[in-house]
């Protein structure tokens, strides 16, 4: 029974679950490092997922074929996430609105907008049709390449863990690593950190605070859109109303747990992903060990609370986060 739970698939599915969380969390990191709170990640993901799916469904019947359609769907998801985030950027940077209010409004708007468009595009609520092709697995090594025996087991683990994923899962890892490097080693990164800590200091040395913050919010929207594409076009293959189901908020927690760094955000997402994957596996065996499945269902959320309670005191947020910048 242990092998029903502790198998390569558990870890591979942890990575799969972690991917959308990590992308949104890194988006949150970049946004908050610039000094803008982004609790609209949830809504940006949802909008990205919807338009990504809608574009794919519209194009897959045309001459470009279903595979090209799903790639265009991915690009559409990223673009709509970025576009949608402009509302948040405008409200919080130019209108100096309370950023939590703007983010909340955006989340509600995303839920209503996607539900409404669902009805008007497809004539029914719930889920869209499935796209004909989801984003394909990147590597396709034969499972039995190393035969059975110890070597075979090792290969199964490696293959499942590292080579069983679709493109966005690999993109997320690359974005985490490159993002980390860029945050600390590039001009963009140093200026971004300065914006979120002390925008006036940045302003006095001639850095354009408004432009820097706009860019950061839009990047976070694009990453959230990519997370939405991962959910709809890679993992599920359809769009379902409210399919993000709180992931944007867990991503926000992952960003904090990861101490406002891209790699930290990824690793924190991986921890959340792992508990979620574990919870699914444990549900399968819950009748055998006489624990109600709801108990396992609860675990990822309990972990979120515990982790944030334990970490919040020590993790230091960017000093100027949530504060609109006003020139004197």
């Amino acid at each position: 029974m242990l092998s029903d739970v502790l198998n390569p698939d558990l870890f591979a599915s942890a990575i799969r679950v972690a991917t959308p969380l990590a992308l949104a969390a890194i988006g949150g990191t970049i946004c908050e490092r610039s000094g803008v709170v982004n609790i609209a990640l949830e809504g940006m993901m949802l909008v990205g997922a919807f338009f990504g799916t809608a574009a794919t469904l519209a194009l897959q019947g045309t001459s470009i074929g279903p595979l090209a359609a799903v790639w265009i769907g991915l690009a559409t998801a990223v673009a709509t996430g970025a576009l949608f985030s402009l509302i948040h950027a405008f409200a919080s940077i130019d209108l100096r609105m309370e950023q939590v209010v703007s983010g909340t409004a955006l989340n509600i708007l995303a839920l209503g907008l996607t539900g409404f468009l669902m009805e008007s595009f497809y004539g029914h609520p719930g889920s869209t049709d499935a796209v004909r092709e989801t984003l394909p697995q990147v590597f396709n090594f034969p499972v039995a390449a190393a035969g059975s025996g110890l070597l075979g087991t090792v290969w199964t683990w490696i293959n499942t863990l590292l080579f069983s994923h679709s493109p966005i899962a690999y993109m997320a890892i690359a974005i985490a690593v490159i993002g980390q490097w860029a945050l600390y080693r590039t001009r963009w990164g140093v200026r971004l950190r300065a914006l979120g800590e002390h925008p006036r200091a940045a302003d006095t040395v001639g850095i354009n605070v408004r432009r820097g913050r706009y860019a950061a919010v839009v990047i976070s929207g694009a990453l959230a859109g990519l997370a939405g594409a991962n959910l709809a076009l890679e993992q599920v293959g359809t769009f379902t109303e409210n399919m993000t189901n709180g992931r944007g908020f867990i991503a926000l927690a992952a960003n904090i747990f990861g101490r406002w760094t891209p790699v930290g955000s990824y690793l924190a997402s991986l921890l959340f992903g792992f508990t979620d994957a574990l919870q699914i596996k444990l549900q399968l065996v819950s009748s055998a060990i006489k624990v109600p499945p709801q108990f396992f269902l609860m675990l990822p959320y309990v972990l979120t609370v515990v982790v944030l309670a334990g970490v919040m005191g020590r993790a230091v947020a960017p000093a100027a986060v949530g504060k609109p910048y006003e020139k004197e």
Partner: protein
């Protein structure tokens, strides 16, 4: 031709004429002090030069050419650098990152050339004797070090004109001497320095020329050789000022506050106070002198109930208040003028009347059965505003709209109005000008003469020497020296404050070291 010329600059804020046709010049190789009380318009003028404010009239010329400066970037490009009173440093970034920020050397278009940046920083720091660790994070540096980083930042950006806004407000005596040495070497290299200050002795010590401002106007120009402190003070305030309040020796009575073997941790849970014992008697002012960050804050917070001590005891007139809450502490007869009037002393969004009774607002006559009596509050506020000479058009002006001196008067009025047994005054004159300092000092001494116990926390030696009866020097969480005020000198206190007396933790530092 002067390096910088300001012609008839006028700047109007809503209701205030901050600069009224002010003209001045600044030459390469000279230090000009801009002297004036808070609100005289010194900082406004320099903020105009630096492009942070746009003037309503007049012009700025650099080397005789009219300069259209609309933002700091343009000022920097013209060779103007400014070290602000509140540092413009990004704390989590390294020294090097802060210095090059905005003008980062890059390779491949975006990647910061850190090796090049480090070399540039070290080269500058060597040339002007401004030693810094280029890889340290700014948040880990002392205030004096952070100021060096600010100066290096301006130099890295190519400043030929350096504006220093109240640079000594946060420094220890040793750091001030060091800063003045640096400033002297900068002007020897051909830079021009404008120094904004309201401290008379500094002006006399460092300036080549002094411009005195009052109420937005330039009211005089002089040279240190032609004047003295009293002369400068008269120009600045417009009347004769008592620089050291007259006082009679105190007549200490019974012990009011007694602290025994107190140990307190700081925010990072590191020991900040490591076994301090002290007592303050009725009718005496005891000064706790020390450089910022040596445990004074934690002692004050422990006494006032804002922080829980780890060990030791605190008694007030024999009553144990070691673990008392702030409310119980106030009830026991402790008043507290906190060091940060914005964060702790006042609610800036409340009006003066509300701030005047804060802490007593729940008791009669200010409230009955949980309902505030606005009339009683207003009556008290009006009386206190009059008694303490708070300059305000109305008691319903928000505290945040007052000048620093008037804000401090509100805090002092409230805390003294409570008629406490013990007054704790932490940096009570920080950021105040001579007129207001004089007033606060008089109030504290009057309190003493009424038989109250006063614990003064200060890093200003002037202040400590002029109003304390007894001085305790604190260093690294320990009292390292105790002396009667009449036997103390600047040099002696400075020596002990910077570790000269040694402590249980660190080896003694050579005299004059920092």
């Amino acid at each position: 031709m002067p390096l910088l010329e300001v012609r008839e600059i006028t700047k109007v804020f809503p209701g205030v004429l901050a600069n009224d046709k002010v003209s001045m010049t600044l030459d390469a190789g000279e230090i000009v002090a801009l002297l004036g009380e808070n609100g005289a318009g010194k900082s406004t003028l320099m903020n105009v030069v630096y492009g942070l404010l746009s003037p309503d009239g007049g012009e700025v010329l650099i080397e005789g050419k009219p300069a259209n400066i609309h933002n700091p970037r343009q000022a920097i490009d013209l060779g103007i650098g400014m070290v602000h009173q509140h540092f413009m440093l990004v704390e989590p970034l390294t020294v090097t990152e802060n210095i090059v920020l905005g003008r980062e050397p890059v390779k491949y278009g975006q990647v910061i050339d850190l090796a090049f940046a480090r070399r540039a920083v070290l080269e500058l720091s060597g040339r002007y004797g401004l030693k810094v660790d280029p890889d340290a994070r700014v948040m880990d540096l002392s205030v004096g070090m952070q100021q060096r980083v600010e100066i290096l930042k301006a130099l890295y950006q190519g400043a030929r004109i350096l504006i220093l806004d109240e640079p000594t407000a946060v420094l220890t005596p040793a750091e001030v001497r060091e800063l003045f040495g640096v400033v002297r070497s900068l002007v020897d290299e051909g830079l021009a320095v404008a120094l904004i200050t309201h401290k008379l002795e500094e002006v006399l010590a460092i300036a080549d020329r002094v411009l005195v401002m009052r109420d937005g106007r330039l009211v005089g120009e002089t040279r240190p050789a032609d004047t003295d402190q009293a002369g400068l003070a008269r120009m600045m305030v417009g009347r004769d000022v008592v620089l050291r309040v007259a006082r009679t020796p105190g007549s200490p009575g019974e012990v009011v506050l007694s602290v025994d073997d107190l140990e307190v941790d700081d925010d990072r849970r590191l020991p900040a106070v490591k076994g301090v014992s002290l007592n303050v008697r009725a009718g005496e002012v005891v000064a706790l002198a020390g450089v910022d960050g040596n445990g004074q804050r934690e002692i004050v917070e422990a006494i006032t109930g804002l922080r829980r001590p780890k060990a030791g005891s605190i008694t007030l007139r024999g009553k144990d208040i070691t673990r008392a809450t702030p409310r119980q502490t106030i009830a026991a007869g402790v008043s507290h003028v906190p060091e940060d009037r914005h964060r702790r002393g006042l609610v800036l969004e409340f009006d003066i009347a509300e701030n005047m009774v804060l802490g007593d607002h729940r008791k009669a006559p200010y409230a009955h059965g949980g309902i505030v009596s606005t009339k009683a509050v207003a009556d008290t506020a009006r009386k206190r505003v009059a008694d303490f000479d708070v300059r305000t058009p109305s008691i319903h002006v928000l505290a945040g709209a007052l000048s620093g001196g008037n804000q401090q008067k509100v805090v002092v009025a409230r805390e003294l109005g409570r008629d406490p047994d013990l007054l704790i005054a932490a940096q009570p004159t920080r950021g105040l000008d001579v007129g207001a300092i004089e007033f606060v000092h008089e109030q504290i001494l009057a309190e003493r003469d009424r038989g109250k116990a006063v614990l003064l926390v200060s890093l200003e030696l002037e202040e400590v020497l002029s109003i304390a009866d007894r001085i305790l020097v604190i260093y690294e969480g320990l009292i390292v020296h105790e002396v009667l005020a009449e036997e103390a000198t600047d040099e002696m206190l400075g020596y002990y404050m910077t570790g000269g007396g040694g402590s249980k933790l660190s080896a003694p530092v050579e005299k004059g070291g920092s």
